[in-house]
Symmetry: C2
Subunit: 208 residues, 2 copies
Amino acid sequence: MRRMPTYLHKLRLMKAEGKQYASCTELANYVRVDLIVVRKDIAMTGLAGHRRYGYRIDDLMEAIKRFVGWDQRLTATLIGAGALGSALLGYPDFQSYNLSIETVFDSDPLKIGHEVHGHEIYDINTIRQRLQLAPPKIGILCVSNSAAQQVCNQLVALGVKCLWNFANVCLQVPPEVIVQREVIAGGYAVLAAKIKASQENGAIASEE
Amino acid sequence: MRRMPTYLHKLRLMKAEGKQYASCTELANYVRVDLIVVRKDIAMTGLAGHRRYGYRIDDLMEAIKRFVGWDQRLTATLIGAGALGSALLGYPDFQSYNLSIETVFDSDPLKIGHEVHGHEIYDINTIRQRLQLAPPKIGILCVSNSAAQQVCNQLVALGVKCLWNFANVCLQVPPEVIVQREVIAGGYAVLAAKIKASQENGAIASEE
DNA sequence: TAGATTGTTAATCGATTAACAATC
DNA sequence: TAGATTGTTAATCGATTAACAATC
């Protein structure tokens, strides 16, 4: 599942080069993964390819988007316009993933009223008034660890059912709420473990 | 592996509360994962617990750090002091993970010479001169997609053998170089797929 | 003894890998 | 025909889950 966006990314590059067809081999070489993995991943989307030519790039992009759930538009609010929040607001690909960040909130008076990447930053205290009539599908939390649970509670009270949490805490939520937690340190743990393994085994093939 | 940092995080919280022992049950409740998963994960570290009391928090933290490879200090240089790079520089936990970001480079004249979270930003053109005698273990790439491969080549030429790549490209590197790629969109793909699945299951449930 | 906990072994499941068939 | 590619089936492996034993 986590490989899908990378295929999509490569397919966009290939399309920009004017290509019409993509083969598993090309994708595999780029992603640095075994040929067979790509074939299996594509098979999961249910798309049929053309032997000898590969897959039509447009069809494959559509199929991947459908499989991942990016064919439906999702609305979001982003809480916390610090460095990480700003980085997300500047991320150019969300649009093509059909994610629309419609509002941005922060508690810092120095930030409120200013714009970041075209998004005006609202006062967190106005969140209820602004969102209660039409709560967004997703809440993106880029706040401090200490504020995360409280902000989470506010969002859940407003009817937000999906959270994308970048704070380093495990949010306690009702069972029907979906939480996707991003752990920066998780990637570093994987890297450190790879380094340790390579020291012990000498050179080994890189693995996830 | 990716769960380990979260356990560590909870253990730190518990230690701050003055506790000495932690049980799998407590960790499982916090991480929202099955009891048995935690037990297996801890078993991987090789630490023996105390029946009825659980694990000594200090011992468990040590064991996890050793298992993940965070018992050895790793040096790093960070390239690209944009929003994402700044967010990483402000991340307070790297110190406790034994990751030491020693230098920061950027190409933007407006940033060079300034400080971010106590790190002076150097001109990317001086990287060779500054790092060639003692290259860091890890290069952290927070640059644009278009610059990533070129910066990567520079780092590899300097002898950097491990890369933590936040740019949305697959770096082409010699086989002995370890790359850990972070894909922001990957987390969003997982979230979107969860949402899609819940809608389908919800529809099935409501038909009954 | 009862209860809470870790420890261990076996079963299950899903993802990965391998081998080969089909086809343009 | 030869070669490149997708498609399919089986084997393998590792992670997860389940069940129960041991022990304080």
